[in-house]
């Protein structure tokens, strides 16, 4: 059962600063919510490098290999047809489909992979939704969330966040 302290900021810069200070003080389970990408928040939260490029590379190479092998096997091995007297394995003519299938598999993988793995969809519940005010995170405000440790009271952390420039501060408890 997670317990979170949520704090709302009016501007992105104080949020980045608050995230950095909290992380440096050893706080864990930090996250930030914003209507648009904020410069420097990755560094402030020390988020690991995104895995999406690696996934894209592997998927792209797999798709390209699959596309090429399919053409090679069908045209040169399984059912040879003499087209315009080109050799059955005419590699230049295979390149466009190889490229396209590489792009296709890559794009589909990162799109659905992001949706269902990295973004965790379909996710119908998140503890931050316990706070009604959190709606402003998708409009014009910037939120930070910090996890409370086992048995820790929210008071100190809430005060610290206010001192860092937060407007509204609240705490929520994950439903069982």
């Amino acid at each position: 059962m997670k317990r979170l302290v949520l704090a709302e900021f009016a501007e992105p810069e104080p949020l980045v600063e608050a995230a950095r200070k909290l992380r440096e003080s050893g706080r864990e389970g930090l996250d930030a919510y914003s209507p648009y990408p904020i410069h420097g928040i990755d560094e402030a939260l020390q988020l690991p490098r995104s895995k999406v490029p690696l996934v894209a590379l592997i998927a792209g190479l797999a798709g390209a290999t699959g596309g090429y092998v399919l053409q090679w096997w069908t045209n040169a091995i399984d059912y040879e047809i003499n087209v315009a007297n080109r050799p059955p394995h005419a590699w230049p003519t295979n390149i466009p489909v190889t490229f396209e299938s590489g792009v296709l598999v890559c794009v589909l993988t990162i799109f659905f992979g992001s949706l269902f793995y990295f973004f965790g969809l379909p996710r119908t519940y998140h503890p931050v939704f316990e706070a009604e005010a959190f709606r402003s995170a998708s409009l014009d405000k910037f939120w930070i969330s910090a996890e409370l440790r086992e048995g820790e009271e929210p008071g100190d952390l809430e005060r610290a966040l206010r001192e860092l420039g937060a407007g509204r501060v609240t705490h929520v408890k994950e439903e069982d």
Binding site: A84, N85, R86, A90, P92, T93, I95, P96
Partner: protein, 410 residues
Amino acid sequence: MNEERISLDELPRWEGSRTALMACTVAGAAGLALTAIGYLFDARRTMLSYLVAFLYFLGLTLGMLALNMAKYAARARWHIVIRRAIEAVHAPLPALAVLFIPIALAARKIYVWIDPPAGLDKEVLHNIEHKHGYLNFPGFVWRSVVYFAVWLLISELLFRHSVAQDEDGSPRWTASNRRWGSVGLPLVAIAATFAAFDWVMSLNPTWYSTLFGVYFLTGSFVAGLSLLVLILTFVRGPGVVGSLVKKPHFHNVGKLLLAFVCFWGYIAFSQYMLMYHANLPEEVPWFLVRTHGSWRPFAFLLAFGRFILPFLALLSRDLKLRPRALSVVAAWLLFMHLIDLIWLVFPSAQMRDFGMKWSPASLGLHWTLITAFVGVGGVWAACALWRLQGKYLVPVGDPYLEDSLRYVQP
């Protein structure tokens, strides 16, 4: 950030470098003189070497002229601090107009269609005769004059307006250049396409590719961007101008370089693959000569060296942010552009097989390749240095210069 910002009022005019100017002039004169001697021994191959050198520096010039026009047409601001470097590359266009004269005078030596030898295949002679309406010597000359007129008009206007703006800082120069840049883009590109047809493609008068002009222009654009990277890396540092050019500017040029390396790979392969696929007897010999025998290593070098390896290297964001590393890739691409032009021009030099015939061609490279390159390059660089003398190296009068100095990656 602010303490390293230099006040623009302190920016000095560039007094020029007498040593560099002299060195370029001497190298240019010596190179051209040696090439002239080479002409006495082997006129045809000397002229082909000269054509390669001429096309190389013309390509750099047109590439950066295209970039300058595109920036004006798009009303871009980030590049203003590096615009004088772009202009410096297209400023020596008048020198190239003069350097074209030997090609026109000795055209007979390399363009077989001007005076086709009777020994040629009957089919080929018929083909050349059929194209006479376009491929004839007077047409070749007046079209060349038109190409240079169009390029010079746009290039001179953009350069002179930009320099004039240094003095009075009036925004009307920017407004005028934006119009000329937008008008110039299609004009310069069409002229360059036909120039590539006339000066390179017609070396083999029976072969044609509608993509050829794009191929030449794209390759030239990549080379021009590469030279820009080298210039910016060279001036970067504690100097007054160098300190103004920041990582985001390098990153942007690097990104353009990546985009156009991809584009070159795309159109170069398309041209090859479509002809391979169609397998028409009048189209494939051009590629057969260039992918077999002595020219086979060149074809592989271009596929890997001009597309695959630079593409993989430029994918890295870190590399594009490091001027020195980016310069290594840029220098390599400049070398590859030369290889590409040699690969385009020299195999057509045999003056033996046209039409549907082909046989493996020897390299037939000539020592004048080096002298012509140094000669044309020396004169070209001297012209650039001479035109920059007494000018500011940053367009200090541009109303958007501050935007460019503040530029960070969005």
